[in-house]
Every structure is written in structure tokens, then in C-alpha cells.
Symmetry: none
Subunit: 222 residues, 2 copies
DNA sequence: ACTATTTTTAAAGAATTGATAAAGATTTTG
DNA sequence: CAAAATCTTTATCAATTCTTTAAAAATAGT
């Protein structure tokens, strides 16, 4: 299950995408006007689908802009099927280029392949000097072969999010948005309290990976 | 530049691959008989290209076997262009499926896209001779791979502003306005004090990029 | 030597974080 | 289905850190 952003000026195409990928359990956010892409909270998407030919904004230019601030797979989904367009698309930083008319099965398979790859890479990389995440059982193990830390769902989610973006600083709002979605309006103290509780549990095991960056937020540093 | 393994029973195709990708500086190892794939040293390949229909061994089965012990991108390159074959190919663990006859440009673009993704830059940075800014984590690192300088929010903001406009001189008022907005009425000493504190921290690391332009203001010069 | 400007010092004021505790949700258990 | 346990969110306040200010000392230019 993944968060997917789909941008296309044709509502019919958006509906198909939403239908096809929804069946696989993904949450699809459909945007018809590329100018309305949420600037904040882009980080919470696991994959982005883009049309090339849209009014108001060129898909290639949009891809370049998105790529500058986003790390997830970007896939073009377009009627422009000539090879030079494909090359141009991939060179703007996209990861795949699917020609219309596309089959539902191909769309599903390609989206799955890209998502699978993300987890494949992350699985290997989510081990640190002082601890490692067991991503399938959603547990954090401090040290070597010890018992898993007894974190709650939210606490684990915060840890995994910060750890996946090791070194990067996030504000409390950003953390909340990335974990609970944009809708949830929360006070700063929510995340602050979670962080405090996480630190209490990890400190008890002699592990302190969450650093405060004063005035900005928190980061995972191990 | 990458190590690429290409498996295809047709020598002509292998030659084309070797020629096309060789021009991009990649080292292509060509294997005509899938049974001869080196069991050892598979990990040294950054990307694998597979044919589907080969004598002696099915490409899909081969992909599954490879995927079990290898983490790099696997791309099918095949004449079987129907959708169900594509879906089957991606489901065996491959990352892409390119139909023959393929254009040289498409092959290059797709291979580059997959390699690029492996090493995708997670942090946007602003680099100078003696230091670089990690813009995503809002940190200034002096020298090569050293620890980030411990700057406060305002101090970092001033540094980034001056650095972004390298060489340009700004008065204290201009600096204050650009960072805190027009509304903030501040005395000159506010910025002067910040500059002093920044210099103290950077001087301690043997780095002095902020120059005073007497009677005018300050500039970043590195 | 004089003046204007910058740098330093030191301390008051403002903002942010961390800790404590308790109310509101949710899930588990009997 | 209700009670109990657990988790999430909120409010409040102390502790910490940062920002701003005022005034003295140092420095550059004329």
C-alpha cells in the first residue's frame, strides 16, 4: 500500500488510474491542474504519475521541478510515444515512461515494480551503527540480537520516518504530516511528547539517535 | 560508469549493447549462454540486461534466480512484446521491460535512468571551495566530510543568504530585511552580533568566508 | 588626532524545547 | 457489551537556548 500522486488534465485518465491502482490498495491523490500540486507534504508520496502534455504547464518542466525536492519514483504516462520524447522524459529525472494507450495490467505491474524497488533498497540500508529496523515486523532492535524496543505504533512510525531520512532535519509539522497525513491538524506538543517518550525508551538502552536542531526540528543521527 | 552484465543468445544483439553502452563509458560483460553466468562475483554488477527467450534456460526463471542473490536493477530486453509477458517479467523481480526492436537511444536512456536512481542524490547542496551547505538539513559543513558547524537558526539563515549571493555586498539593514522581513525594525548591532558569533564559530574551524566591506556591509567570499 | 564605523562585551528579553500530568481516543480484555 | 488497559493528544510551566539591545572598546579612513 502506497501513497500515489497522479497528475493529468483528463479526468477520465485520472479515474482509470484511481480505479486500477486503488484495487491494489494504494491511496491515489488525483490532481487535474498541475499548478495545484501541494508544495508542502510532497515527501509523503511514494510514487508520482505525470502526464506530459497538459495545459498551463509542461510535464517535463514539472518533473524537473519535482525531482529537485522529491526522491520517489516519477513515472510519465503519456500519449507522446516517440523515442525522442521518451529520452527527454527520462533525462528530466523520471524513472519510467509509459505510452498511452496503456494497459491496466502494465500500469499496475510497472508501479508495483518501482515500489518494490524502493523497499528493496531501503531494506538493506535501514541498519545503523547502534540499532537496526526489522521493517517487516515493524520493530526497532537496539544493539546486536537484543530484544526489540517496545515502541507504540506512532512512536515506531516516527523512528522509521526519521531513520529513513537519516541526517535530514524535519520540523514537528513535517513529521506529523509525513506520518499522519495533511489533514491531521495537530499541536506541536503532540510530536514533542512522542519524541520525549521515544527518547526515554531508547535512552534506557543506552541509545540516543534523535538529535534536536534548535528552532528547526529533529533528525536521526547514528 | 558502471559494470553491466548482458545475457542474450544472439551475438548481434550483444554486440549492439556493448557498442551502445560502451559509448557511455560502461563496462559491458556479454554472456551468450545463460548457463555460463558467473555464480561468483555477481555482486560486482551494477545492472543486468536479460533476454527472455533463450535456448537451455527461460529468461523469467533466470531472473528469479538472480533476484534471489542480487539487488541491482534487472532489465528485460526482449522480442516478446505482449502485455502479459511484460507483466510476468516484472513480477519475476525485474525492474524494466524493453521490447525489441529497441532504439539505441531508448536503451541508453533507460539504463541511465536505472543507474541514476541507484545513486540518486538525497541532499541538495550549495558548495564552495572551503565548505558546503546541505540545504535539506540546513547545515554548513566546513572542509571535507567533517562535522556540521553548530549554527543557530538566524546564523544559518544569514550564512545561506550571503552564500547564495556570493561576492555581493549587503548592508546590515538589507541582510535583516531579507531574512526576517521588512516589518522587523532592528538595530544594526543585531546583525553585527550575529556576524560576530558566526565568525567565531567558523574561525574555530579555520574558515573565514565573511568579509567586511567598510562603510557598506558584508559579503561572502570563498 | 578626529570622526565614523565596526567589533566586542554583557545582560535583559523573547522564543523554543522538555517534563509533568491529565483528559480524550482507541484497543484489548473479561 | 462494558470495563480496563493502552495509546494519543492537549495544557501548563520550568529550563534551556537564542535574539536583541545598549554601551564600551577597537579599528579604519581622512
Amino acid at each position: 500500500m502506497a501513497n500515489i500522486l497522479a497528475v493529468d488534465d483528463e479526468p477520465a485518465i485520472l479515474a482509470i488510474i484511481q480505479n486500477v491502482l486503488g484495487k491494489d490498495g494504494h491511496r491515489v491523490t488525483a490532481v487535474q491542474d498541475p499548478r495545484c500540486i501541494p508544495a508542502e507534504g510532497l515527501a509523503r508520496y511514494d510514487l508520482i504519475l505525470l502526464d506530459v502534455m497538459m495545459p498551463h504547464l509542461d510535464g517535463f518542466a514539472l518533473c524537473k521541478k519535482l525531482r529537485a525536492c522529491v526522491d520517489c519514483p516519477i513515472l510519465f504516462l503519456t500519449a507522446k510515444t516517440d523515442e525522442s520524447a521518451l529520452v527527454q522524459g527520462l533525462e528530466t529525472g523520471a524513472d519510467d515512461y509509459i505510452g498511452k494507450p496503456f494497459g491496466a495490467a502494465e500500469l499496475r505491474a510497472r508501479v508495483s515494480a518501482h515500489l518494490r524497488r524502493e523497499t528493496r533498497e531501503h531494506f538493506v540500508s535501514l541498519a545503523f551503527a547502534g540499532a537496526h529496523f526489522n521493517l517487516s515486523s515493524r520493530q526497532l532492535v537496539v544493539g546486536e540480537g537484543g530484544p526489540p524496543t517496545n515502541l507504540t505504533k506512532s512512536e515506531y512510525a516516527i523512528c522509521e520516518f526519521l531513520a529513513r531520512n537519516q541526517g535530514q532535519v524535519f520540523s514537528k509539522e513535517q513529521i506529523y504530516e509525513n506520518i499522519f497525513g495533511l489533514d491531521g491538524a495537530s499541536s506541536d506538543t503532540t510530536i514533542a511528547t512522542h519524541i520525549k517518550n521515544i527518547r526515554a525508551k531508547l535512552d534506557a538502552q543506552g541509545y540516543a539517535p534523535i538529535k534536536t536542531v534548535w528552532g528547526i526540528g529533529y533528525k536521526w543521527d547514528d
